[in-house]
Amino acid sequence: MTIEGTQEYSINMGPQHPSTHGVFRMVVHLDGEVVTKVEPKIGYLHRGLEKMAESRTYTQFIPYTDRLDYLAGPHNSLGYVQAVEKLMEIEVPERAEYLRVIFAELGRIASHLVMIASGSLDISGWTPWSYCFRDRERILDFFEMTAGNRMTPNFVRIGGVSHDVPDEFMPALKSFLEDMPEMMEEYYGIFFGNEIAQSRMKSVGILPKELAENLLITGANLRASGVQYDVRKAEPYSIYDRFDFKIPVLYGCDTYDRHFIRLLEIQESKKIIEQAFRDIPAGPVMAKVPKVIKPPVSKVYHRVENPKGEMGWYIVSNGTTKPARVRIRTGAFVNVQMLDAIVKGWKIQDLVTIFASMDLVLGEVDK
């Protein structure tokens, strides 16, 4: 008996696999070495956060929000807390707003650094990984010196932030900002300018603009496909309308651009932090909020620009101390869908880079 051509077969990848960045599992259908289809199987980290929220008070739920995108904790809690503040109509003190923005943007830099680091690691680049993690560690030190926690600081509270930053925070932040241009050059030189990295990533895994919009992709992945859209500009929340920054946009739509746009975003975040650092006023960091958080019967949908995509918080209040429904729309969860759409025709090693370029964090995918 002779077999003509190759036979299609499917293999399982994950959930315990080093290049799936967590407990992501996919069934890969292959024709020889060429990928024909990918079925993402998620839910291994599902903790039922939406269900948990219904049995906890509004304040008790804040620590859980940090654990959604655990690489950029403060931005998640910022979205949730601002949604509750919208319901309660609470005004937040100026200093707290600035601190929130500084922490949110530091979180964004930390998250993008991990993305660049793991992206390079997936194509066997060990050195960029150590550079990125060296600098990310300094950001985590900021979180630790302020809130006592490295990755999930639980810093943002309803009505402000938990407490003011310690005395050593501002000088440390200043020296970090001074070192940043040099860091950016290093990342560029060692990873983005690298010939091997470029040949592995350029024009691999094209996500055209129309497809991205139809698949409801948000965040940096959408901006790497040529759509200049950022909630911080389109619908400014907190005090983002006071800062002067650009929305980077790239038109390559490929894996390289999805990595490179993160570097450009780090630059813009740096600008925001610099301006916030310059303008931050003195004063209280907590508004006068009632002891018991009891919003009136109403509903609100609040969107924030998370490092991984747009995050939406739909909170329905029934007038008690516990929410009737907390819906978390996470960017990474919706972005998973682009994997199957763009991976057809690429080989297994490309699947790994394409997967890395989506920048998923499983805490956010699985909720």
Binding site: L216, E235, S298, K299
Partner: protein, 162 residues
């Protein structure tokens, strides 16, 4: 925050699909019955001057006597935002799928099916997404009984052929 042209468009649409318009906290909301949901979504997507052409979120919601499917629409080209709420029956929750309009609604509808048991007619692959395939019940419904710790410790009885 809500522009007048959007308000006018939604007003026209509400008459056509027999819906109610509400405005609170700067957000416009249109409540319709399940059979008009896709018609409302299609019209909102194609509003002449203020197209709400990006499905930002789709989720289920349990109100004890009926279920809801909540669509949050926005646009990548403007500030317009619209929330469309479709009421569905609790005992037989069936609604038309939004996947022909947005491919990306796929996962969102699978999640709503998993958590609330809402059937989306015309969905290409309506399977559970978070819970495992032989999981019983829909955990986000208000009447779902969360097992006690003791119950959970009892091992699942294996079915024949497993």
């Amino acid at each position: 925050m809500v522009s007048d042209s959007l308000r006018a468009r939604v007003g026209e649409l509400a008459v056509r699909v027999n819906g109610e318009v509400e405005e609170s906290l700067g957000e416009l909301e249109l409540t319709v019955n399940d059979r008009y949901a896709v018609e409302a979504l299609t019209s909102a997507k194609n509003f002449a001057d203020v197209p709400c052409d990006f499905l930002h979120d789709l989720c289920g919601m349990d109100l004890e006597d009926h279920l809801e499917v909540v669509y949050q629409l926005s646009s990548l080209r403007g500030p317009q935002r619209l929330r469309i709420i479709a009421r569905v029956e609790r005992d037989n929750p069936v609604i038309d799928s939004a996947t022909p309009l947005w491919k990306g609604a796929d996962f969102l509808e699978r999640e709503a099916f998993d958590m609330f048991g809402i059937q989306f007619r015309g969905h290409p692959n309506l399977k559970r997404i978070y819970m495992w395939d032989d999981f019983e019940g829909h955990p986000m419904r208000k009447d779902y009984v969360v097992e006690s710790h003791e119950q959970r410790a009892v091992m699942r009885v294996r079915k024949e052929g497993e």
